[in-house]
Point group: C2
Chain length 334, copies 2
């Protein structure tokens, strides 16, 4: 029988539609849909030698010699980094000037690399760069919240093959972020405990939704995972904001994220996916009631009218089955 | 310069990214992507003659002779109509048995018809059926909320070509629905007015986001439309719930919905889209502070990591420009 589960942190309800269940391997990308891009593309703005096709870089690693990671303002930025912040309330219409920061993090000079197949050192450089740019972007007085994310593949919303991530610093805090924080605060007031820490303790006891674990982080499918293979990677020690992650934690996360992405890559034949860093507003550090995490969402199903109209999700797989599949999936070529 | 707009009803913020703006016609479906299905498909469970491939029908129109509209339980139902309702709270885990109703509304016997090209009488029969089944599904004591929706095309989440809609009656009320109602109630308490009626008055005064209007309804792009061509079709007279729509209103809506879908079909070359009926929980009728509507969402852009991670949207088009385009788009073949 299907069941409906709630994620106690996000309050989202998910229909676990076991009657529609497919086997985990049925979600793998079809062979016909696999592409092998070339190592270098003359028209790609992120390939070495084409640096003049992007706005001037704001960060690079290493600082001299050929770059390995490069950060540039997005040429087609959603927000304007030179705009003044102003708010206009005209009757029922609320408008804020589109002031903010939108950068692209080029993860590797090689066009045909796949993020999952970066070396552990390369992955660590990418996460270090995430952290540095998060601190830089949120230090802008116009920025209230920053969203770090990666779109891998067309179904995940990108048409650019060259491996890259993005950061967008917005002058407003999304209402969904505020709602989650209020909910977490209420839980803290009632239970004297961070809601994420409580769920984490539960998951570490159950173990059946855990995919992989490192010294400082654990990767698991939430009890009410929205889609097959939807994972959270959460710091084991209570930490409110991504801003507070230490270099040691980031290096440890690089290893675990790489393992998780490789399991997805080899287990599901390189599906499209999104990664997002879920962290509170930039002013919120050291909170006892909130906890940052990283979300990995393979895009193996589609959002349809039911999800749009209800805000609920239908997940055609049991999170425990998906977790067992990924636990057993190889983190390297067979 | 880009601007960030808020939908005062949903509280959602949208970046109107004018720097990325495309012309409205650039969102049209590419010629290579157009398909012409056959009139009859032997393996299609919704084609006449194949009625035995579906569970027994729960409704049909007309009641005798060949059917024009047919409603059947979904063969791969997300919820179980024979299950007992039970709630299980085990520590932090909230689970409800998957009891509920999931039906398919087959809109026409002809496999190759497109909903937009139904006659006005046919469209009226579909909406009458929506209403009847909404009343029937929400009369089940296990159902707390029903979501009516349509997925047109693969990008909108369906792989079945035969024109159909769906209704899902769930035993829980989605938190997003509750949140909107609370917000509307607060607005009512503070302003003595339904928030939808207030926005409607604003839109009817501005007129620049209106696409089409009938005696009883108006179709417009919200000030903070989430995506290009995202439309709301709202009853002009205050009505809380879809359950309260009269036969005359439904007939009037059929004409306007048909006009809107035909403008989308001819203006954008038959893009994939979702329709959802946004209505309060089934117990909520006659409320002074809430107002049902129908949402039409052409799927011409993709939800990516930014939207998933922030809950905000980036709309690469100005709602006023999209509305002007649809106002001018033909509602019939050129």
């Amino acid at each position: 029988m299907p069941e409906i589960r709630q994620n106690i942190i996000t309050r989202e309800w998910v229909i676990i539609a076991t009657e529609r269940a497919k086997r985990p391997e049925d979600f793998a990308r079809a062979a016909a849909d696999r592409v092998s891009p070339p190592r270098y593309v003359p028209t790609c703005p992120f390939c070495p030698g084409n640096e003049n096709q992007t706005p001037p870089e704001v960060y690079r690693q290493p600082s001299s010699g050929p770059w390995q990671v490069r950060v540039v303002p997005n040429k087609f930025a959603a927000l304007d980094s030179s705009a003044e912040l102003s708010r206009n309330i005209h009757g029922l219409k609320r408008t804020i000037s589109g002031a903010g920061i939108h950068e692209v993090i080029v993860e590797t000079p090689e066009h045909d690399r796949v993020t999952a197949l970066l070396s552990e050192a390369e992955m660590a450089h990418v996460l270090e760069t995430y952290h540095r740019r998060y601190l830089a972007v949120t230090s802008d007085p116009r920025v209230a919240h920053a969203t770090l994310f990666k779109n891998h593949g067309v179904r995940a919303g990108t048409s650019l093959e060259h491996p890259h991530s993005q950061i967008v610093g917005t002058p407003i805090i999304p209402p969904g972020v505020r709602d989650r924080m209020e909910h977490a605060l209420r839980f803290y007031d009632e239970n004297g405990e961070c809601i994420h820490c409580a769920v984490l303790a539960d998951e570490l006891r159950d173990r059946e939704r855990i995919v992989a674990q490192s010294r400082d982080f654990v990767a698991f499918l939430p009890y009410a995972a929205l889609t097959p293979f939807h994972m959270w990677i959460t710091p084991l020690r209570h930490t409110a904001s991504f801003a507070e992650a230490t270099p040691e934690q980031l290096a440890d996360l690089a290893g675990l994220l790489r393992t998780v992405l490789r399991k997805v890559y080899f287990g599901l034949a390189n599906p499209d996916y999104n990664i997002t860093v879920r962290t509170p507003p930039s002013e919120a550090r050291g909170l006892r009631y909130y906890h940052w995490y990283l979300s990995v969402i393979p895009r193996v199903t589609r959002v349809a009218g039911f999800e749009i109209g209800s805000g609920m999700f239908i997940n055609p797989s049991l999170p425990e089955t998906s977790a067992a599949f990924l636990r057993g999936a190889p983190a390297g070529p067979a």
